[in-house]
Symmetry: C2
Subunit: 367 residues, 2 copies
């Protein structure tokens, strides 16, 4: 097979996996929606909200899981890998629903976030009491429901995800670490201002690892591999690729959270600043800005009322300080390490090519 | 064995189950706390909050599960039943954490609720930004973590709780129905005021079934039975006992939510009124009060600033209207149905006695 034909076959397989994944996700949601309808027709908005979230998105985690599976000898479009993808997408949806409440994000993928959807439902129906409280409460419950669904889907993989398997162990670790990492993230928002600026970069880097890097790339890849029976050696080799890649992925996210184009990201400009996120990018800026710049940045972080002009001024401070360049250099270094490790993975050429494609998309993306 | 000796043996077995359950819960939490500590020492407060919730409580669900198991032929202190009890207690803890955010409950079992604990931590450390938001965000994440733990614990039961088993199916149904029921509950708070008063009782009764009755008694009993291999006939017989019992249990809860003694319940007097809960008790009162009484009750429901005098006045309206008596009559009727069905259960006498003890405690309790 020519190199071109091989690339086309690999892309074709990935497209077919996406189709299977979408099909199984729809089937899963429809089944649960039917069961929920037997409780009450009024529960439909919860299912609609979940359905809306899992029909979109980049499928990054499901794809890493699939190619991890294939690289460990799993069969083409294997049922277990598709099912694990369903579970990962449901987990991501659950995390986004609760994340958006925590971060007070009104917008998700260009539309209203789930708590805003329920707020809108309250307003449209002129219901009593407080719209915002109702929206938050309904979104907490929708996220909980989605979290339960993710477990259902993972368990439905069958014996390969049974109680004593490596895949289950990684799945458990993944969920606990994400929640711990998210807590460290909100803790950093409130502790950060009293921390010495010289410690800010290290603190931000630790948050990244657990909140995002392991969860977005390392664990999904490892779950797929473990389901296909990968040994410890292969899992360790996968980590050498996926962990630095995941860190670069999150650093890219942090850059987009400040400098991203709302048209492309589907989120308001400078959202991370308004939320007060203490990212590596912000930590660098605090460390390297002029005293006046750092002071303005420090007092602006977490202010919900920052306007477009304020965001523009903060972007300039961050960029002039050299923080943006420093973050891009970090992303480059991590990407290089990741792609070197990829070259040494004992996996077939088409799996390697697929992982390279996913990796490049993760670190070079604009949304 | 004399009747007295039999009763003592059964109570002794229940005490030993409680000990095993407490032991396994502690072991589970300690294992997870050690893993979390490897992420960061800062995550300890999440584990402390979970630990605080699962070391208290009446163990109602775990006990129904255990006697359901025993009645279906499961062995004394069987590992699977203890492990299922661990999962149910963790699920209950997760539900309480999120429930208290949703209901804005500051107090749980006489101490601060989890979001208040985190608010206190914020205040004690003089951290930046908003104490209340930090408390809520941390509690959302703690509940999510606990929900994941519950699933880990349930899966650790092993093959008897595998992907295609009856126990797993009931466990899945239980979680989804509770969340749907809780949504119906908050929906009723905002929809109720515009509903015809004649429909209020039926609406409240539907909420009860899914939010509480099935979850508190029917599903735990059925999970234990299914783990021991119960057939459909036994599960149906169990339901005829546990479903009316669960409804009576929740109606008792509703009475305590308005008339309970704070010293005994560990919650402020009249908490349900302040939260605007549209219970069967309240629905009866709206239906049966004088026009002036109903109007005052209607405009008071959901007002956070109700003082002790207001609560006292509302109690009088509810009680004078005959709503309290009507609710007690309903509890009596449901209890009678439940205990009649209990008498027909094909289970050993000691299991029957244990279930009767649990049932009586559930409907006659003061806390």
């Amino acid at each position: 097979m020519s190199a071109q034909a091989a690339a086309s076959a690999q892309q074709d397989e990935q497209a077919r996996f996406r189709e299977s994944l979408a099909h199984e996700l729809t089937r899963f949601i429809e089944g649960r929606a039917a069961a929920m309808a037997r409780v009450s027709a009024d529960v439909a908005p919860l299912m609609d909200a979940i359905s809306g979230l899992v029909t979109g998105g980049k499928r990054l985690r499901a794809l890493f899981c699939y190619w991890g599976w294939r690289g460990a000898g799993g069969e083409v479009l294997g049922r277990e890998a598709v099912q694990a993808g369903v579970a990962l997408e449901l987990f991501q949806a659950a995390a986004l629903i609760h994340d958006d409440i925590i971060d007070r994000s009104d917008i998700r993928r260009g539309g209203p976030s789930v708590h805003r959807r329920f707020g809108q439902l309250h307003r449209d129906n002129r219901w009593a009491l407080d719209e915002e409280r109702f929206g938050q409460a309904a979104a907490i419950l929708t996220g909980d429901l989605c979290l339960s669904f993710c477990e259902e889907a993972f368990t439905a993989i069958g014996p390969a995800a049974g109680s004593t398997t490596a895949a289950r162990r990684i799945f458990n670790t993944m969920r606990a670490e994400v929640m711990a990492g998210q807590y460290l993230d909100i803790l950093e928002e409130v502790v950060g201002p009293s921390r010495a600026r010289s410690e800010a970069v290290a603190a931000a880097a630790n948050v990244i690892r657990f909140k995002s890097a392991k969860y977005s790339t390392e664990h999904p890849l490892a779950i797929g591999a473990a389901l296909a029976g990968a040994d410890e050696e292969l899992l360790a080799a996968y980590s050498r690729f996926s962990l630095p890649l995941g860190e670069a992925f999150q650093l890219r996210d942090d850059v987009l959270g400040v400098f991203g184009d709302p048209q492309t990201t589907g989120k308001p400009a400078g959202d991370d600043l308004r939320e007060g996120k203490r990212t590596v990018l912000v930590a660098y800026a605090l460390e390297r800005s002029t005293a006046a710049g750092a002071a303005l940045l420090e007092e602006s972080l977490g202010r919900q009322d920052l306007g477009d002009d304020d965001v523009e001024r903060l972007r300039e401070i961050i960029s002039t300080s050299g923080a943006l360049d420093a973050t891009e250099t970090l992303i480059d270094g991590l990407s290089t390490r990741a792609f070197e490790a990829l070259g040494e993975l004992p996996v077939p050429a088409d799996v390697c090519a697929a992982l390279q494609g996913l990796g490049l998309a993760a670190v070079q993306r604009a949304a």
